[in-house]
Symmetry: D2
Subunit: 154 residues, 4 copies
């Protein structure tokens, strides 16, 4: 939406560092290094404390809020048929809107994890490691069959 | 910054024993610093490439997968009535299960953002800044009314 | 929201019969007999045909629309903590809003089933029969444990 | 109208062979006339009472269960790309599975409505009438733009 430089200037992370757009040499799309998941947790934590909103942020309240945001993401995709990587056919306005709704999902996901005392980044890495074992590349290469359908003993 | 190896060692910690749970001096629950959202993106990107799964990872396919995972999180909360912060009444097994399902939501959210070329961490920070303006602390303090219900001109 | 009589007059079902509010002798809350699921299917079918919307109503488009509506239902419940049967603490406006959002879920669920050529009422009855066998009353009485946790051979 | 016994016989038809699929003269796919939404409500009501499950069926518990079932429907569509009307490329087993998951969504939707004392069939008909006014055929013909984007005064 913005040029990388513009975005870099605009973003002020929780710890004072600025957001950087990583573009790998391969041209692979990548995210900014910052904010980290814990940066987001901290900023949102302060945001809620300043508003005295902790009282509303029970786990199930937050979960339902997250479901609501997933619904809003779905609405942006609902009448489009299949959508191409990078959203080349979307307007800038729609892309911006999607970025906001995906952000809302992330913010509530981080908040839900915090309220449940679950270390989300650590858990995610662990889950990916589990997935690597569960879906060995040589067995599942090019197939989308569900795990339960594989005969992993073959 | 840790080397990948250091990170791998640090985070293979299913039992939570050495998962680098950061507890700030205030006793506030916090997340591990690593992996960042871009770390998760990269690891998952490699995971999919090695399995030749990019062909299945169209935005709407990923979105539906994310909806499925949100459903699995919901199932863990469905018969419990209200749940307390920190899940003091949950078994370790259930907490672990929840950590995995929240991770699945995060992994697909990151993947969906990547496939849509949306810089998720930058977008999230921007959204939080928007929220700060939309819900000024002195107006919304202690209230959960929806934004549209506030008279922000008062 | 309305008295039963008022509602009875207002509803004009697809087949020309009028909606009746069934109140069993026990005082048990009940639904109107009409419209049936097939009435809703037919009315919505005509609605879409008149607007030339069938072209947009591919199964996955409808599914995402349904997810969006489930999100809107969730938003109505999100900051309330636990909610009592019959919603005694809700305003008439909020109840009406909920009725509309639940209706949207139903309309898309019916439409999705139609577009998938699935006989939803027949399937639902079959599923309930399956559930009766899966969860025998004498085994599961007063327990919310998941099916997989029961030892049904005991 | 059939007696309950007749209905029971008619609908115990896992293989679809005798499930009274109504095909109108036009060849339009249609649902069975029975069960109605209130039939489903009643059967499920009895089912829960016999198992002493009402205690678990608070509105938000049921809502989260419904979200879980919507997630399971989504999982059936997640890796398929766009799907054709009538699911011609799906196996009988997958179609059957989908019928069951759609049924689960319906059962919980009916149950949620009952527990909230919302007359779901009446509300749905009312909502469709609202939609007819909101989206006049001559304005929205062949367009999927959102309501808010239409200039209905033109």
């Amino acid at each position: 939406m913005n040029s990388p430089d513009a975005k870099k200037q605009k973003l002020q992370c929780g710890d004072g560092s600025d957001g950087q757009i990583n573009v790998a040499d391969t041209g692979e799309f990548s995210f900014s290094d910052k904010p980290t998941l814990d940066d987001i947790r901290k900023v949102q934590h302060e945001f809620c404390k300043e508003r005295n909103w902790d009282q509303f942020h029970t786990p199930r309240n937050i979960l339902l809020a997250m479901v609501g945001e997933v619904g809003e993401v779905s609405e942006l995709f609902q009448w489009r048929g299949e959508v191409k990587e990078g959203l080349p056919d979307w307007s800038e306005k729609d892309k911006k809107h999607l970025a906001q709704e995906l952000s809302d999902v992330l913010i509530y996901l981080v908040r839900l994890s915090e309220r449940c005392h679950i270390d989300l980044p650590a858990a995610a890495l662990e889950k990916i490691e589990m997935n690597k074992k569960k879906y060995p590349a040589h067995v599942v290469y090019g197939s989308s069959k569900k795990y339960s359908e594989y005969d992993l003993k073959e």
